[in-house]
Amino acid sequence: MYGKGRIIPALLIFLGLMTFPLWYNAGFAHQAPKPEKPAEYKECVRPTQEMRTSHMVMLNQWRDDILREDGARKGVTADGTEYVRSLQNGCMHCHANKKKFCDTCHTYTAVKPYCWDCHLEPKEAM
């Protein structure tokens, strides 16, 4: 092969650079985000797995139902706890710390929801 003295080392260097993130992080287990759960409440409005995957869908459903269909402003969990169907007044009532709850996963997955452009996060306990 013509010029193999240069091509093969160059290819090896290229491959090494391309796979840099893989071997650099090998053997180093990444920590999944651990959002801080409220201490005084044990149960969320839906099962944990469902909340994890589709809380945003549920928030949109609440919004459309309440704003447009005059839907109920309150809901009841499986265990009978009443909650407000609202991000600002419902979710954040229990998950009072946005930084330790919402932001942990959103930052990890590089998601930037625009909720907080308008909705107010609860003030830190003062």
Binding site: D70, C118, L120
Partner: protein, 276 residues
Amino acid sequence: MKKDRRDFLKVAGLAAIAGIGAPSAFNMLLKGEATASEQSAAAAGQGEAVAAPTGKRWGMVIDVRKFVANPNLPAKCVEACHTIHNVPNFGNPKDEIKWIWPDKFEAVFPDESHYKRHEALHSMPIMTLCNHCDKPPCVRACPTKATYRMKDGVVAMDYHRCIGCRFCMAACPYGARSFNWRDPRGKDENGNPFIKTVNPKFPTRMRGVVEKCNFCVERLALGQIPACVEATGTTGAMVFGDLNDPNSEVSKVLSANFTIQRKPSLGTYPSLFYII
């Protein structure tokens, strides 16, 4: 039977035209029937008063006499509403956001134009807010359905969907809509926030959306009356209730008084009534 290419193409073409044309012609005929029946129904109702829709319909009577008697009342109403709903004050009439505001008689009732207007009308503070029309032009104008009319008569907004095109502002004959030219969460040059005291129970808006009075839907859902009505206290300057309930306070006030509405000639059927 001999068929040449020319005959075959003729038959195929005719069949294609018939196949495509028949369903649309059928639909057109069906639609024509529907519009004919609608037209006859409309013709039957012509010249008569349009029947009010049934079901709950929120409405309000504003007794301007009471506002004249209590000169500090307009400011109190505005304060109550704008504090509860996190309405920013940009300190500049060009950027002003207003859900409820007092205005001059000639501005609120431009139809009442004549030279010999009563002297007392000139200084009258007339509270003005969204009219929550039965036939809201803003809702027709909105291209994203960000604004819509609820079954109970409230013309509401979903700020998530507002793209800030301001068609609704152009469509609203009452000037009841304001546009956020600036970020309501921001601060003025002296470092004072545009929203003086933030109500943590209600969201703010963001830059680039239109906002307006929501008839306090969030309070109505909890069984409370609108904030402005609450601010008037026992003066009876603003009466709120179900217009379709003959026993409600609004209905009683309406039947006992002569009331006027803003720009009735436009056929928007507002939910607001004024006693001058």
